[in-house]
Amino acid sequence: MKRLRSIIPALIPLLVVTAAAELAVRYGSVKSYLVPAPSSVLRAMIESRAELFGALLTTSVSALVGFLLSTVAGIAIAVFLSSSRAIQRAFYPYAVFFQTVPIIAIAPLLVIWFGYGTRTVVASAFVVSIFPVIANTLSGILSTEPALRDLFRLYGASTLVTLFKLRFPAALPQILTGLRVASGLAVIGAIVGEFIGGQGLGSVVDVARTQQRVDKVFAAVLLASVLGLALFGLINLVSNVTLRRWHASEQ
């Protein structure tokens, strides 16, 4: 019951906007080939459900694989960067590079490197989502409380022990923030990859746009957002389980 009540504030804007859009289209203030009526989006979703949900599944797999790769690689890179000032100076600028890569511009190259299909899509999701993982993990690891660090040193803890028992757990809230940002980016990256590499929701959007089917474009976009939300929810769950006992953000 409490759960339900916490959802209500989020539902109100949804209902208001949906109803307004429906009325605006129905009474001719907005042309249906510019903004589709929510009812026609729903109809498109039902009519093309097999195609749309098949595409959603394909996109989900690619986005998830890309996201997991950037989680693993991003955290590993951040740990490596945190090992010394010199290493950080030498390599961090290259990590920043990933943030500024205009994925749309290099996507055709991805196709040439990885071929058409899943590998290109995963690569695209990976490239756009790795930077927030690196940046947040690094900043988390580097901001370990000095007093605790000294304590570990006093007891003669090794670098590895300090990393796993102190720095890493202390950085967890920030790592999770990085992952939240990365999850949305991975979905965007996957869809951009699909524009170029074919398949999935990206391909559905591309085809529907060419056919001037605005309703179907919106239906596909809606499913992409659902995917983003699901990933976000998953990370919140992980965050809740891991931080509940000790961190203010989850209490």
């Binding site: 001719g28 042309k31 249906s32 080939y33 510019l34 196709v111 040439i112 590499g197």
Partner: protein, 311 residues
């Protein structure tokens, strides 16, 4: 009442539609960057017809036909099949002048594959880059089947994948990508899509039904200016190419002249010698509508005589 309510909650939409517009100015939205396929539009003597025209270049995915329907451009350049689909969805747009009388779209392949026809292409394994949403892509699928080949998204005008793979074929404008590929040393062969029986007018000057009703004189003036512009461009494309080159430096100067020459037979045909440049016939529109209906692209089939207007 409803209209007023809506305007209060969403004035941004109305603002967007009219942004940047000065009074009396007429906007002509292209569906691609300035290049020879729009030569006549750049050569047209608008001022001599009392018109102040601003040409808005487009790019991949520019929704030109929606812009014309929504009034964010008074005129636009689209293809006839887009126009029929748009009309079937309630977007009241009307064709005024058809630059390309024959469909300049084709599929380019490497000549080394020794394919004899479009049908052959789909009989042997290989990759075909094709925008699947296009009506002709589905027509090809219906006619030849895509089971043997791998269909991948079209890379737009980019030909690097084509150059890298001998078994790669891609959709193209007959007088555009194949020329670029030849310049890069590829031995190219082109199969026109019209071989498969799909031949809509393309690069069609279009306006909204509303504009045509409210301001028929300006519509007439622009059609006349465009017709003169194309005549001038066909006779001597040099000065206009010079201007377009500055607007679109991404196209090599030599290619402008080559394309202008290669496209001429698509624009000037026996038909246009009899009836004038840009002219259209009811039969052609009828045939196109029937084809699109057959492909399942139309909710409701528009009447052919509503699709175009001879001015």
């Amino acid at each position: 009442m409803h209209r007023r309510t809506f305007l209060r909650i969403a004035p941004a939409i109305a603002l967007l539609a009219n942004c940047g517009k000065s009074p009396g100015k007429i906007r002509l939205a292209l569906n691609w960057k300035p290049d020879p396929q729009f030569g006549g539009f750049y050569a047209a003597p608008y001022q001599a017809h009392g018109l102040d025209v601003e040409i808005l270049p487009g790019g991949a995915g520019t929704p030109t036909i929606q812009m014309v329907g929504a009034g964010s451009a008074e005129f636009g350049v689209v293809s006839a099949d887009e126009l029929v689909v748009a009309r079937s969805q309630g977007n009241d747009v009307v064709a005024l002048f058809a630059v390309f009388q024959n469909n300049p779209q084709g599929i380019m392949v490497h000549a080394s594959r020794k394919l004899a026809s479009l049908a052959d292409l789909f009989k042997v394994p290989g990759t075909v880059a094709l925008q699947r949403g296009l009506p002709y892509a589905r027509l090809l699928e219906k006619k030849y089947g895509f089971e043997k080949v791998k269909i991948v998204p079209s890379p737009g005008g980019d030909i690097s994948a084509f150059l890298a793979d001998k078994n790669f074929a891609q959709q193209c404008f007959i007088m555009s990508e194949p020329l670029t590929a030849k310049h890069q040393g590829a031995d190219v062969q082109v199969f026109p899509v019209s071989d498969a029986g799909y031949n809509p007018y393309t690069t069609v000057l279009t306006t909204s039904g509303e504009f045509l009703r409210n301001d028929p004189d300006h519509a007439k003036a622009i059609a006349a200016a465009v017709r003169e512009g194309w005549r001038a461009y066909l006779d001597d494309p040099k000065p206009t190419n010079q201007r377009m080159k500055q607007l679109n430096p991404s196209m090599a100067p030599a290619v402008f002249a080559e394309v202008a020459e290669a496209q001429t037979p698509f624009i000037e045909t026996d038909e246009t010698r009899r009836n004038g440049l840009g002219s259209m016939t009811k039969e052609r529109w009828e045939a196109l509508i029937a084809q699109l209906k057959d492909l399942g692209d139309l909710k409701t089939a528009p009447a052919p005589e509503d699709c175009y207007r001879a001015l």
